[in-house]
Amino acid sequence: MNDYSALRRFKPWFWGVHWPLLLVAAAIGGFGLLALYSAAGGSAEPWMQTQLVRFAVGLLIAFVVASVDIDVWRRLAWLAWFGGVGLLLAVEFWGVTVNNATRWLQLGFVTLQPSELMRVAMVLVLAAWFQRFRHGEVSKKVWLFPVPALLVLVPALLVLRQPDFGTAAMILALGAAVIFMSGLHLWYFFAGAGALVAALPLIWVRLQEYQQERILTFLNPEGDPLGAGYHTIQSKIALGSGGLSGKGFLGGTQGHLSFLPEMHTDFIFTLLAEEFGLLGSVALLGLYLSLFAVMLFCAWRCRGMFGRLLVSGLCINLALYVFINVGMVSGLLPVVGVPLPLVSYGGTVVLVFFISLGLVVSVSRGRSAPAD
């Protein structure tokens, strides 16, 4: 009768924690907190403190999500999807309008952007829908495709009405990517891409004027330096003046002088890149890449199709955030207002990240369980 029982109970719990995932996330989050500290001019207030609290709450949520069996989440997938659509409809009616766009829900002291949560729910439901197919069935049972198509298109259209073209496009891309992972034959994707190219002129006409303007200035931002091209030019100045090794922590000038109005949210990458230089920005990109690699490894090790699709889908979702955000601040993509997960100040993205984290851990814990 030795007293190892406590330790024995502790050990599986301890090793059950997905350490690589957590460490990479902690490193990225650390970067984010530094950036927010610097964005406030070397002060924990007003952003870093709040963000730290959010991280703590998010970690708690991640543990709760992780400790629930993945099968339960699979059964809850549809509920999550309908919940997301419900939130999007709520935005339609009671949303907060900023700059002509209604994207946010005011819930007491929290401002929620439901379109972000919707994407997680969509990955869940798509994974749940595609897991039933055996090898090759996906490509054969094409008549069933209106179902996933609706699962993607309904939220995309609701988001487009807000109007938020960037997020709508991301939802479409995410849906397509999950379907790609489900093993649909590649020819369908070639055909789809062809159709999309053909439809581009039509989409262009439907765009809001400010969105057209943004795309046009993206092609030639110097054309309107004080207007629509301002963001792109200023963020490139901030990036470029950072150089190889940066101006040192808290040594940035461009961010602090308020040349970038959304410095602590969508343009926070420029602040890091200015203060830590190319080394810093590439290091951050590397951290994100390792996060994705860990997630994809999880997905690959998974035996059930649900887990595979869920984890890879969540990975794609986060990757879209990162690539679009960095592409945007470096002038490769139009300014669409996409945050950098765990670095940008903002509650919804933190929530999305930690829910994703929890789901990945939940999947990796139950990876040996066969799919039903």
């Binding site: 090898h135 990036l239 990109l285």
Partner: protein, 637 residues
């Protein structure tokens, strides 16, 4: 029958699962590859910006650190005809708070409230606004601070980190409310102003004209903003000034107003509830004084006006925001009689035309009354003018006819806007047959000509038009009033823009004019004239003029029977308007004036004394025109 040796269902399922896993693995690799590719592209992009083009962006960043600020050009002054200041720029003390430097906003504001005695309500308002204010931009807590408050803030500096007293430009109008209708006021530009004047769009603290001369000559007064290059530190605070290009100051405006005359005229109106007066110089039509009472302090609009005060001003029955001299429209009453006389003379009815006044005149089945119930008896034109006999003019008007009366009225400047160049001027109304048809779809009745002959009915005039009429009667010239003499591009190098030379002569016979002038002389300076008791009893300064009392109500036959209610017994709003037009000196007219006292009562008792005082003041106090200000400090001899 032996079963074929195909794979068992379980094996087939296993095979399918293996192949599915294999395909998923391939797709994971594809996805990972794609992510790597994207990351590489981004990395390459960052390398290009942060390493290859770094120099270029470093330079741009340096330029970013140099902040270009626009500075408002000093607004042009408005001067009176002698160069005395009517509107100028002064500095005042503003209380400003820089949120980025305030450690504890709540505590700071509480201290401020204590020092400045701010009510809790204001404090709450400021706290709310401050929350939404950008951290690095100064927030204006108080637009204007008195000396005592400035020193109170200075003494408490240690407790008020991030709070500053700064100077800001303000507009000062030495004449205050006396001239506010003429000068107008200025305030912060709204979006439409910014569209109209794009050059001032980003200029901090700039103000634009809102009414009067300030808005009429906005483009001249405004000037061009200058620029200032500042090096700013990481928190956006200026470290030092790199360059300073002053803008072009606005041009000064030399008006025709005579500071002293204006002040006197304004003072003179204060005894009445609501009145308008205007004085013209007959030499060039210069408006020497233009006063509308009651008025408002123009400084009130410069950031101090509350909604409540504004609503009070707008709903005030005395209409203090209205410039009654140019916007008020009144029936001219008996001041219209010279027009009728001229029309009769011009159409061949000589001065000896006689009519009998029994106290009333009947046309068809309608009876028109004279102001004198017992009648004037038999009169010639000159006596009728002196006594202002209504019955005589009823009949003279009928003889002259509507067309002639209207033509002379228009010739004398009634029924159309003058070329004063200030917005808000009313047109007035000179009726005609066409007008009657188009507005009432009815023909012109002779009874209307009768009423028109004593300046009642549909005819409407502004006090300014009456003054112009007086000036034209006095000179026989087509005098146009003007408010601005010249603009001064730069001090000491004036660009004077004198308007028009002498006016053209009117197409009226000098003989008729001479007769009417003689009659107007009689009105004031002969026993029996309606304004005899209000004459200027000084050799060489005598004035000529005409009284007018215009009814704003109808007197019913019953009331006439019982005796007409006296003005004093009526509520103010239903009393008659008192009018007087005049010019002086009689021998060689130099100044003309018109006064309307709203609901003041009789023209001879209320309006005439005001004109008398104004014209006397003009002749005895105004320096000669030769002494007018020309911007170079010297007077032209």
């Amino acid at each position: 029958m032996p079963r074929s040796l195909g794979p068992s269902p379980i094996a087939r399922a296993r095979e399918a699962e293996r192949r599915q896993s294999a395909r998923f693995t391939r797709r994971v690799l594809l996805l990972g590859g794609a992510q790597l590719a994207f990351a590489t592209v981004l990395g390459a992009r960052l390398y290009k910006i942060q390493v290859l083009d770094s120099e270029k962006y470093r330079l741009l960043a340096e330029q970013n650190r140099v902040s270009l600020r626009l500075i408002a050009a000093p607004r042009g002054k408005i001067l009176d005809r002698q160069g005395k200041i009517l509107a100028e720029n002064t500095t005042r003390f503003q209380l400003v708070l820089l949120p980025a430097e305030v450690a504890d906003a709540e505590q700071t504001l509480r201290t401020l409230a204590e020092i400045l005695h701010l009510p809790d309500e204001t404090l709450r308002e400021i706290t709310d606004r401050l929350k939404k204010h950008p951290r690095f931009l100064p927030y204006v807590v108080r637009e204007e601070l008195g000396w005592r408050e400035v020193s109170a803030v200075e003494v408490n500096t240690p407790r008020l980190a991030g709070v500053y007293v700064v100077t800001s430009a303000a507009r000062h109008y030495p004449q205050g409310e006396a001239l506010s209708h003429v000068l107008g006021y200025i305030s912060k530009p709204n979006e439409e102003d910014q569209k109209l004047y794009p050059q001032i769009r980003r200029v901090p603290g700039v103000k634009v004209g809102r009414s009067g001369l300030e808005i009429q000559y906005e483009a001249i007064l405004q000037g061009r903003p200058g620029t200032k290059e500042l090096e700013v530190d990481a928190s956006g605070r200026p470290v030092r000034e790199l360059s300073h290009k002053p803008g072009t100051p606005g041009e000064d405006l030399i008006t025709t107003i005579d500071d002293g005359m204006q002040h006197y005229t304004w003072k003179r109106l204060q005894s009445e509830r609501s009145a308008a007066a205007v004085v013209l110089d007959l030499y060039r039509g210069d408006v020497l004084a233009l006063a509308s009472h009651p008025s408002v302090d123009p400084g009130l609009f410069d950031g101090k006006l509350t909604d409540k005060t504004w609503q009070q001003l707008q709903s005030d029955p005395l209409k203090p925001l209205n410039n009654k001299v140019i916007a008020g429209q009144y029936a001219p009453g008996s001041t219209f009689k010279p027009v009728v006389a001229l029309a009769a003379l011009e159409s061949g009815h000589g001065p000896h035309t006689e009519f009998y006044c029994p106290g009333h005149f009947t046309l068809g089945d309608h009876r028109f009354h004279c102001w004198k119930k017992e009648g004037h008896g038999r009169l010639t034109m000159r006596d009728a003018m002196k006594a202002s006999c209504d019955v005589y003019f009823y009949q003279l008007g009928l003889k002259a006819g509507l067309e002639n009366i209207a033509a002379v009225a228009r010739l004398l400047g009634l029924g159309s806007r003058t070329r004063l160049g200030v917005s808000g001027e009313s047109e007035g109304l000179v009726p005609s047959r066409e007008w009657k048809r188009s507005v009432y779809n009815d023909r012109w009745h002779d009874g209307e000509t009768v009423v028109l002959s004593i300046g009642q009915g549909s005819i409407l005039t502004t006090p300014l038009q009456l003054a112009v009429m007086s000036a034209r009667l006095a000179t026989g010239l087509e005098i146009q009033p003007r408010l601005v003499r010249a603009r001064l591009a730069r001090p000491h190098r004036p660009v004077l823009r004198e308007l028009s030379g002498l006016a053209h002569g009117l197409s009226l016979s000098p003989w008729s004019l001479a007769f009417v002038r003689d009659a107007l002389d009689g009105v004031v300076n002969e026993i029996g004239g309606t304004a005899y008791r209000r004459r200027i009893d000084r050799e060489g300064l005598e004035m000529a003029g005409k009284t007018g009392t215009s009814q704003v109500r109808r007197i019913s036959p019953e009331e006439r029977e019982d005796g007409v209610t006296k003005n004093e017994d009526l509520p103010w709003r239903r009393r008659d308007h008192a009018l007087f037009i005049g010019y002086a000196p009689v021998a060689r007219p130099r100044y003309a004036a018109a006064v309307v006292v709203e609901h003041g009562g009789g023209g001879s008792t209320v309006a005439a004394p005001i004109v008398r005082d104004i014209l006397f003041h003009a002749q005895s106090k105004i320096e000669r025109l030769a002494g007018d200000f020309n911007g170079d400090g010297a007077r032209r001899g």
